[in-house]
Amino acid sequence: MKKYEDSNVSANNFDQCTKCTICTVYCPMLEVNPLYPGPKQSGPDGERYRLKEPKYYDMGLKYCLNCKRCEVACPSGVRIGDIIALAKAKNGRKVPKLRDVMLANTDFVGSVATVVAPVVNTTLGLRPVKRVMDATMAIDHRRTFPKYASEKFTTWFRRNMAESQKEFAKQVCYFHGCYANYNYPQLGKDLVKVLNAVGYGVRLMEGERCCGVAKIASGLIGDATRDARRNLSEMRKAVAEGMEIVATSSSCTFTLRDEYDHVLGLENGDVRDSVSLATRFLFRLVESGEIRLAFREDFRMRAAYHSACHIEKLGWGIYSTSLLKMIPGMELIMLPSQCCGIAGTFGFKKENYDYSQAIGRPLFDRIEELGVEIVATDCETCKWQIEMSTSAKVLNPISILAEAIDVEKTRELNNVIDL
């Protein structure tokens, strides 16, 4: 059947906007910041004028969080967030601020920081240093910086695991992203533990680059494109070897699958379906009966699940929550789906701090009200924001699984022989 809606598309469907204004109802930035022109005006409305002449660009677009909640709400399939991201890239600040470049280059900064992690962590935590950063770089002093690990995940992996992983009959490629590599290698280790238990060996890509989500948000499209090309070529190699690519970060997953095509204009259709969130990968195997999970009998946890914006856009929260619900000792409470306010690097910028906290406030209040110790979420920046703004500890669902599974029993169930 010939489908009109597949062929009749303008760039990111901006022409398909019926001006219904539903998007404005669900924009978290509009709720707290009247200086933001809103998704409709910033997106499809503004685009028609920007096509006439770029000088119709509105500087207020910088407030867009790129949370994509407008896209999820749109009944006409208009990719409002993508339109805005592209407009920012084309028309925004030509020379980005040093701060924005630093925040966006999560991989570069991370690789330097991990080497001197104890110093960096201490320094970034010191009040005078925060004041200086606030004054010189406009990184808000009230912000808690994510800690850098002293050993990168990749270093640990290559040193301790790379060889043993090759022994597994089934292999999967792990896109660890900057966060697991530099800030929280434990997440990568947790994934390896879970995957190994169900009989999958883990491989890494050669020279994985940052997925680019932060660079796209800061309008550094050239840098993002360069990294993306490299990642795509590595992803193609993995797919050619018959591997799926899994990630533990919802934002990385979303960027690799959708933003490469929609925002960077890179053809990724050949590998898109092979990129998955680790929880989705596991869920599919469990559901099809290919793998089975056994859990520790003594595991008890009361946790609340926060649906990060990009997981909401992917629609994949259901995989993470379904897996968590399989754990017998788990009491899982769903938090209302809303943006936590951090939006990647957005909340780090001094001028955005108050908006960022105001957006997240109802979520923080709800978490405190529930009195949960653990919040589960698939996004690392949500983790920073929630841990900074509430008393809860935030874990990726994969880390919770890693803690909850009975490794020995799981290996038995899946006939994983001792290596």
Partner: protein, 412 residues
């Protein structure tokens, strides 16, 4: 992923079916492509556009005829009950329409109306003045038009305007003083200050009418204003986004989820697998090779607006399942000369059998039901039957799947 029932479309139709089924213990997933037309609710559900609203006979191909008009009273009660469980009281009942007021002051027959909305009472003509209070600088509410409409009915009517600094702040953006933004700010102290500003302006009035901007800030905002101004405060619909619609959508989704339902937003069914005349699974855009498997399926995608139907220069088709469509063949016949007269395209939709099942490739699919405005045969605008058809078909489909009639809970 396995469910008892998968519903494509998460507007009023999908939610009514979904809630009715989930109440009976069925596991249900709703896949919704964006938010629904409920966001433009007039504040009323309409059953039939005449003074009474009771239906004795309709055209044979009208959805009401398929549902059976004898069931409408029951469905009406169930609808009120479902809304009430979700936390939204509706006033009115089957067979006796009341008059709601439109954003431009036209009185229109309505069947069920949100509790806080204005409905016309003939006694108002000798009960003293009504004051329509607008919000300064808010362009989607028209106190003058509403006042003129009531004056035409012989009601003494005045207009007034109020403002608050926090509402003025919305104007810092040239576009974003919208109903929803105003509604969110009407909380705490702001409500009191607004009320005290209104009090002298509405002194001695029998009723105050305000724009429908309550419900996303403090839930009791309107009642608190009533206490200060000393007379009933009712709301009238605004243009553009309907706060009551947003509120209702949110509550119905919460109700559905509370019953164990899975509500997936921002995704759509892109293909289906049919075996032996039954749909066995559907795939969605976001979930790719993870199929949604179910015993029964419901098509509740809405009409053209929600992309449940698609028109090309050559044809009109149903893109989700490829179901057979009832429509005129040539595009010249789809539209009428005047936008405000009956438009043939409003009646177009999928063909259903006596059990609301759709037809694909010439044969009826045993377990795929169509509900809501995608069902052919009704003109929601001219017959004023939009919501009526939606809830009647949605509840009937649920009954078909359950194989029994839904219980009616008697409410006080």
């Amino acid at each position: 992923m396995k469910y008892d029932v998968v519903i494509a479309g998460g507007g009023l139709a999908g939610l009514m079916s979904g809630i009715a089924l989930a109440r009976e213990g069925r596991s249900v997933a709703i896949i919704s492509f964006g938010d629904s037309a409920l966001h433009f609710s007039s504040g009323s559900l309409e059953m039939w556009n005449d003074a009474e609203g009771a239906l004795n006979s309709v055209a044979a191909n009208h959805p009401y005829a398929i549902v059976g008009t004898q069931h409408l009273d029951r469905y009406s009660r169930i609808t009120k009950d479902i809304f009430a469980s979700a936390g939204e009281q509706l006033k009115g009942e089957y067979g006796c329409n009341h008059l709601r007021i439109s954003p431009v002051g036209v009185l229109k027959p309505a069947w069920l109306t949100f509790d806080d909305y204005f409905v016309f009472d003939p006694k108002m003509t000798d009960g003293g003045g009504v004051v329509v209070v607008g919000i300064d600088g808010y362009l989607d509410f028209y106190p003058d038009f509403i006042a003129d409409g009531l004056r035409r009915k012989g009601v003494e009517c005045d207009v007034a305007s109020v403002s608050l600094p926090e509402l003025e702040r919305l104007r810092e953006s040239a576009t974003e003083m919208r109903s929803v933004g105003i509604s969110r700010l009407l909380k705490g102290d702001a409500v009191e200050r607004l009320a005290h500003q209104m009090a002298p302006l509405v002194h001695g009035a029998q009723m105050v009418i305000m724009p429908a901007v309550f419900g996303l800030g403090d839930v009791d905002g309107r009642q608190r204003i009533e206490r200060v101004v000393g007379c009933p405060v009712r709301v009238a619909p605004t243009a553009s986004i309907s706060v009551a619609g947003v509120r209702a959508q949110k509550k119905l989704v919460e109700e559905f989820r509370g019953l164990g339902g899975t509500y997936i937003l921002g995704d759509k069914v892109v293909s289906c697998r049919i075996e032996d005349g039954r749909v066995v699974g559907v795939r969605s855009h976001n979930h790719g090779d993870v199929e949604f498997v179910a015993k029964d399926f419901i098509l509740a995608m809405g009409s053209f607006f929600s992309r449940g139907l698609v028109a090309t220069p050559e044809e009109i088709y149903e893109p989700t399942f490829g179901a057979a469509v009832v429509c005129a063949e040539k595009r010249e016949a789809w539209c009428a000369e005047r936008i405000l007269e009956a438009q043939p395209f409003q009646r177009y939709g999928v063909r259903v059998d006596g059990n609301l099942r759709v037809e694909i490739d010439g044969s009826v699919v045993e377990n795929l039901y169509a509900v809501g405005s995608i069902v052919a045969g009704a003109d929601a605008v001219k017959e004023g039957c939009g919501a009526g058809v939606v809830v009647a078909t949605a509840l009937m489909a649920a009954e078909q799947i359950l194989g029994k009639e839904l219980d009616v809970k008697e409410m006080n």
